[in-house]
Amino acid sequence: MHDGNFTAFLIDDDPAILKALSRLLRASGYDVMPFHSSRAFLAAHDSSIPGCAIVDLAMPDIDGLQLQEALHKENVERPMIFLTGNGDIPTSVRAMKAGAIDFLTKPVRQSHLLAALTRAIEADAQMRQERASLQSINDRLSLLTRRESEVLRYVVAGRLNKQIAGSLGTVEKTIKVHRGRMMTKLGVRCVADLVRLAERAGITPQA
């Protein structure tokens, strides 16, 4: 029994299944938003709502895998659970490789569905957390001046202050000042933390 704020986005062209699964998931404590087609879902989608898409694989117009691709293209991250009547292995591998939480065959058992949903909640939470931490790193990185950013890339490349000063055509003392300010702005104490942060932010070291 889930009682958090988590929405299951149900997408199935069969109204009976949509209704039954909605009922089951609501009874299990989830918020449910049912859609009868991928198009309807895409039109109304709000990625800020924490939740998971439960998608029928075989649908007219846009099917489950195409929906997954469409979301990827729009850079929307949304955990997905696929339901299928007759899933074959190649299709399931494709879905899983593209980041699906699970690939369940119909008729789906409550326990399997809820277990998959639990994993989806974790994945969603993790994703959101990661996105949040990345956001804070990016926020901090945006505080750096151009010179400080340059110094950062030399530091994470493992260059000494003297070498950096040589490369930038200045004196070692100036670099020390920049480096101190940069470390303060980014809120790191040691070079190891700085390297980890740069890595997460995708900053390439200056060779």
Binding site: D14, A16, A20, R23, L24, S28, L83, N86, P107, Q110
Partner: protein, 684 residues
């Protein structure tokens, strides 16, 4: 033609024929014949015979000889002629003229008979006999008498009686052709001389009637002047007639010619040797009257004999032909029968009764045969037969015979009425054929066709199994989720009973849906005879599209459905019609498989066509049929698909045929092809 006939007539090589072909024999016979004529009665002073056998002998010899060899016989006959005529004291010039006219009449007779009758067989039909009489009794004696009359004119030294002499010469030759001629020619052409003489009833009868005729003639023609004066002359004249008719009727042309010869012989002999019926004038006038009488009597009798011969021959031919027909009919397993309506007389070939399994002793009636009909078929078969007998309607029915189910045989009966005078029904004639083997083969073929149709249906559903399973999975999924949701609702401290009720309603609905899927599948998988009923093709199309729902989605094919709302009800087997729909829809899906999404559309529509048909059209937007494919698409084992037996359309086509409908495939104007089938609809 004539040479063939001659060859055939010569081939039996009757001894008489061979004899008469010998020129020396002809000479001898000529002389003997002349002497016979003189013996029977020659008015020696007038040198004139009432009938003249030598001309007939010469005629027969010439008839059997090619024209270019005739001179041999003329040469051979000349010494005989001279010898005979000199014997009775005829002068040389007269003798020569007589010989010339004798040769002329014999030659003309032989030439004309060969040309028009093709040989000596002259008396087998009425027509040929009439031609014979025309030639030998009328034309050629009349012509030759123009010369012959001079013989007497020269003897008596006067031409003022030329007409009379002509008439006498003519009558003499004509009588010979009528009396001796037929007997001689029949003897020449008779091929069935008895090899051993066995006394039969017919022989005895012939002998008896000949004796009686001889006796009656002797009595009748031998009379005194008193009898003649008493006025019995006409009565006596007709006395031999019944016996002559007897001869003609019983023994045909042989009897007739024999009787004529005998009457002539006796009458001439009596006339020249004593008082007879012909006693009016001088001897010459008497003989002439006698000749005219005999010619008048012989002509119709000879014709009657020939007519009877012809009838008898026709009867025999008919009988032989009937026997042949019965034999052929029995060999080809055909029983023939005929029922006369007025007399109730029933005739049937032996084989009819064998076919119906009736013993030989059965009294032949139509009822006896009809009573063998299987009880289940008896009513309609006897109604059909009776209506044929009552209204003269032709019958063509098939029924079973035999009471036990083990020895049932199928019989085809055909009968047609026979009318006389246009529209008076006189008889029903028909034939029975044993068609058990054909029926067995038909039943076998029917069974095999059903088996194949069923197997194709099963294999088609096998191809669809994934999609069909999905059709079942959908309701099952809904049921499971609803049931589990229901359990959770119940687990609440205060369960919402209204919601539980809704859950249960949905479960029932979905269960019904699953049941329908199974029901539809079972109907399609079931094996059985075609059952014709009224079918709403619109319903059938909707049901079929539901069944193929998953398949269509999986293969990413959309449908565009345009059904006529007031579609007539079709008449057919719903399962076989659905088989056709599935087959055509799957073909359409195959056709658009490789197409871009915008062309992956199948159009399904229905229409009323004409007054008595409904049409279903299934169109795709694929590549259509290639020109070379069009003629092969309905042939078994022809396929353009990578997998597939090539039986689908061939079976659809045969299903349509058995429905009395039609199936066709045509390319669309723009793109793709449309398959359409027409089914007869229920007659309102």
């Amino acid at each position: 033609m004539s040479s063939i006939t001659l060859a055939i007539e010569r081939s039996p090589a009757s001894q008489l024929g061979n004899f008469i072909k010998n020129p020396i024999a002809v000479a001898v016979a000529y002389y003997v014949g002349a002497e016979m004529a003189f013996f029977v009665g020659t008015l020696s002073d007038k040198i004139f015979a009432p009938f003249w056998p030598p001309n007939i002998i010469l005629f027969c010899a010439l008839l059997l000889t090619p024209t270019q060899r005739w001179w041999i016989y003329f040469l051979a006959a000349f010494p005989a002629h001279v010898a005979a005529e000199l014997g009775v004291g005829m002068a040389m010039p007269q003798l020569l003229v007589a010989f010339a006219t004798n040769c002329l009449v014999a030659g003309m007779n032989a030439f004309a008979v060969q040309k028009f009758l093709g040989g000596a067989r002259c008396f087998n039909t009425l027509r040929r006999t009439a031609i014979y009489i025309l030639i030998t009794t009328i034309a050629s004696p009349a012509l030759s008498a123009l010369g012959g009359a001079f013989v007497q004119a020269m003897g008596n030294g006067g031409l003022e009686h030329y007409g009379l002499y002509w008439a006498r010469w003519y009558a003499s030759n004509a009588l010979g052709s009528l009396t001796l001629g037929p007997v001689a020619m029949i003897c020449l052409t008779e091929t069935r001389w008895p090899t051993s003489f066995a006394l039969t009833y017919r022989h005895a009868e012939a002998a008896a009637v000949a004796l009686m005729l001889f006796a009656i003639c002797s009595v009748a023609f031998n009379l005194s002047a008193a009898t003649a004066a008493g006025g019995y002359l006409p009565t006596l004249l007709y006395l031999p007639l019944p016996l002559i008719l007897w001869c003609a009727v019983r023994f045909g042309v042989k009897g007739a010619s024999g009787a004529i010869l005998m009457v002539s012989f006796v009458l001439i002999w009596r006339t020249l040797n004593g008082p007879t019926l012909f006693v009016v004038g001088d001897a010459e006038t008497n003989v002439f009257a006698l000749q005219i009488f005999l010619i008048g009597l012989s002509t119709p009798i000879l014709l009657l004999g020939a007519a009877i011969e012809e009838t008898r021959h026709a009867e025999q031919t008919t009988r032989e032909s009937e026997e042949r027909m019965a034999f052929v009919a029995a060999s080809s397993n055909l029983g023939l029968w005929r029922q006369e309506l007025a007399t109730k007389h029933f005739w049937a070939t032996r084989h009819c009764f064998d076919m119906f399994g009736l013993p030989v002793t059965t009294r032949p009636t139509l009822e006896a045969l009809l009573n063998c009909i299987h009880p289940a078929d008896f009513r309609f078969a006897s109604i059909a037969m009776k209506s044929a007998i009552q209204h003269g309607a032709p019958v063509e029915i098939e029924f079973r015979i035999g009471a036990n189910n083990d020895d049932i045989r199928w019989i085809a009966a055909r009968a047609r009425p026979e009318f006389e005078d246009g529209n008076v029904l006189v008889a029903i004639a028909g034939a029975f054929t044993d068609i058990t083997q054909r029926k067995a083969a038909e039943a076998e073929a029917m069974l095999q066709r059903q088996e194949i149709t069923h197997l194709m249906r099963v294999s088609m559903l096998g191809e669809l199994s994934g999609s069909l399973a999905h059709e079942l999975t959908q309701p099952l999924t809904a049921i499971l989720s609803n049931a589990q949701a229901g359990k959770m609702v119940l687990a609440h401290e205060t369960p919402n009973i209204g919601e539980i009720s809704e859950v249960l309603d949905d479960i029932i609905t979905e269960d019904t849906r699953a049941g329908e899927v199974i029901h539809r599948l079972r109907r399609l998988l079931k094996k059985g005879d075609a059952k014709y009923e009224t079918v709403d093709l619109n319903d059938l199309i909707n049901t079929t599209l539901r069944l193929l729902h998953s398949e269509l989605i999986n293969r990413r094919v959309a449908t565009s459905v345009d059904l006529t709302p007031d579609l007539r009800l079709a008449l057919g087997d719903p399962i076989q019609l659905q088989q056709i729909l599935i087959n055509l829809l799957m073909n359409a899906m195959d056709a658009v498989e490789e197409m871009s999404p915008s062309r992956r559309i199948i159009n399904v529509s229905t229409n009323n066509v004409g007054d008595d048909e409904v049409e279903v059209r299934i169109g795709d937007r694929g590549t259509g049929l290639r020109a070379a494919e069009k003629q092969y698409v309905f042939q078994p084992f022809y396929t353009t698909k990578k997998r597939g037996l090539g039986l689908g359309l061939s079976i659809c086509s045969s299903i349509m045929k058995s429905h009395g409908g039609s199936l066709s495939i045509q390319n669309n104007e723009s793109e793709g092809a449309t398959a359409s089938f027409r089914v007869p609809c229920k007659i309102m």
